[in-house]
Symmetry: C2
DNA sequence: CTGAAAGCGCTTACAG
DNA sequence: CTGAAAGCGCTTACAG
């Protein structure tokens, strides 16, 4: 592995000049050429660690995720990776396995790698570590929800508005007995429940508490919640599942009960773009546009890493979901 | 950020002794305690770059993937991440966007980060870079197929056997008009076609070339291939889709034509574990067990990174797929 | 077991 | 524009 030493030997120039060349400073045309030529010949590549050691910057961003089990996270990674690498920044991935027992050292792990910043979909267990990290001046960008008490930028969607879209669609097609499957321990999903309630109220549709179901964020949870809804005296005509796995579970329960979508039950899902286009009929769905979330988070981070950029207080970027029409909502308006 | 200097000041011990302590050498009980105590008090954390610079090792492995668009890659990442971090090794992710134009510097990018090794699902475009890297002594582990001409360990599944499982299942239930959708430019899928042909031959089922369809590796490709199969004079009674996206496309085409699985067409998929359990009926499927692939690749890499481990020539680990039974294969044996 | 010293490969003021 | 020198925070023979 060639070093500046070798280039000095080959070119007769000093280490300082060589360093200047590689860092974009002004070097005489002639010297630049001779360094370039020697570098190519020796397959020279600057040593990242020596550089990091001096500059105290790593051009590496840590990406901290709760797990790697859904394609929500895959899209996040994909969007961030692209944006960062286009800017010469690499990405260290760390998963804090929030479902597991015990303390996790994910944040500590990233800190020890001296990442310049952390982009994260924060899990509860990561919060204390993130707080410390941010307090020490490391830029943190939260995706999906603003990490409580962390001095961090955030990129979120307007969850109330997103949920309202689902209700609008259902109400527009004549539904009034609308069930909702949510979860009251997850802030984003709580916001979706608020959106549902507000939109129902705005439409003068009474909120029936037995139609508001809570479920763990899993396929099995959604399946059980749907089963409970199906046992109600007066069944809902439609269900809005505010989380992707839960939606899958609800569809499973419907299939198991021999009920057809949309004939026997209308369905609106949330954040299941791939699946929604594979089913028959395709599903109506609120789309989070995860790619946009990811890119926005990377952009926020790149701005924080830019020493030229003015220091601004933490900011939250709010993106908007879109509604994708499918064939899973029956039109039950009375013909008049 | 505290350094050895600070610890020396606090403890009165030399840098060498402090270093020894942090690297597991023998240090007097009393001194160890005083270092430990000072380190905790100062929140000391060894500087990774100084360490890397000296040791010329980074405890970081690059993971190079063709893209991040399928959950095959997600499972790969997930499996590797877990195994590596359990061993204190971090993971730098790099995607070479093989579908894009132009040269990609993915391997160069990883090399400049001086990763200790690279685990990769090799895309064709990455091969030259991987060859150079491996030739320079960086351990490379290939997943899914043995990267041509690269001095690398590999973890693959037995694709012929995997495809044979699908044919076995179909033949056992009486199918003889069996279609196959594959792709003759992808080595693994070519192997699956061989498995299909061999198993058909073993069962004395004639291979009908019009039932062997080729398709790009995409949903749309699978859809078109299935449509072509449906136009045949004598339709197949079953189709085996040897790649997940293609399977999704084929199912879409069937739904669009108003055909039901398995009544009108039996279906066996490949590597779609999540989807196969969401559909009604659940799908029969060959499961690659991607998690096992990932873990095996990480284990191979960890062995290569272990300076104690004996140097052995590149080895290929062959894993076996499993068949998951569903309800998408009709039993058409004649009642006798 | 402990310590003094050299050095890993860069960057950065500071002179010239 | 160029160069000599110091130093980033560690580890590693080498003595003792």
């Amino acid at each position: 592995m060639a070093t500046y030493h070798d280039l000095r030997r080959e070119t007769g120039l000093s280490l300082a000049t060589i360093s200047k060349y590689f860092n974009g400073g002004n070097v005489l045309e002639e010297n630049a050429r001779s360094i370039e030529e020697a570098a190519k010949r020796l397959e020279f590549r600057p040593n990242t660690f020596a550089r990091n050691l001096r500059t105290r910057r790593t051009r590496t961003v840590g990406v901290l995720l709760p797990d790697l089990t859904s394609d929500f996270y895959l899209s996040i990674l994909s969007g961030i990776e692209r944006r960062l690498r286009d800017n010469g920044v690499s990405m260290l991935i760390c998963v804090d396995h929030h479902e597991d027992e015990g303390v996790d050292d994910a944040v500590e792990f990233l800190a020890s790698r001296m990442v310049d910043g952390v982009i994260t979909v924060p899990s509860t267990r990561a919060l204390p570590g993130l707080r410390t990290l941010a307090a020490q001046g490391t830029p943190v960008v939260a995706i999906d929800w603003p990490a409580d008490g962390v001095e961090a930028d955030a990129v979120v969607i307007d969850n109330e508005e997103a949920a309202a879209m689902a209700i609008q669609r259902l109400a527009d097609r004549g539904h009034r007995r609308i069930a909702f499957i949510g979860n009251d321990r997850v802030p984003t999903i709580r916001a979706r429940e608020r959106g549902v309630r507000n939109q129902l109220a705005a439409r003068r549709i009474p909120v029936r508490e037995e139609y508001i179901a809570r479920s763990p964020m899993s396929v099995e949870g959604g399946r059980l919640a749907m089963q409970r809804l199906l046992l109600l005296e007066e069944r809902p005509t439609a269900v809005f599942c505010s989380m992707n796995l839960v939606g899958v579970g609800a569809l499973t329960a419907l299939a198991e009960s021999g009920l057809r979508v949309p004939d026997d039950m209308s369905f609106v899902g949330f954040d299941m773009p791939l699946l929604a286009r594979m089913t028959d009929p395709p599903l109506d769905m609120v789309n989070q546009r995860v790619g946009d979330l990811a890119r926005a988070s990377a952009d926020l981070m790149l701005r924080r890493l830019d020493p030229e950029a003015p220091a601004v207080p933490p900011q939250t970027v709010v993106l908007h979901a879109e509604f994708l029409h499918g064939g899973s909502v029956a039109d039950i308006r009375r013909q008049s």
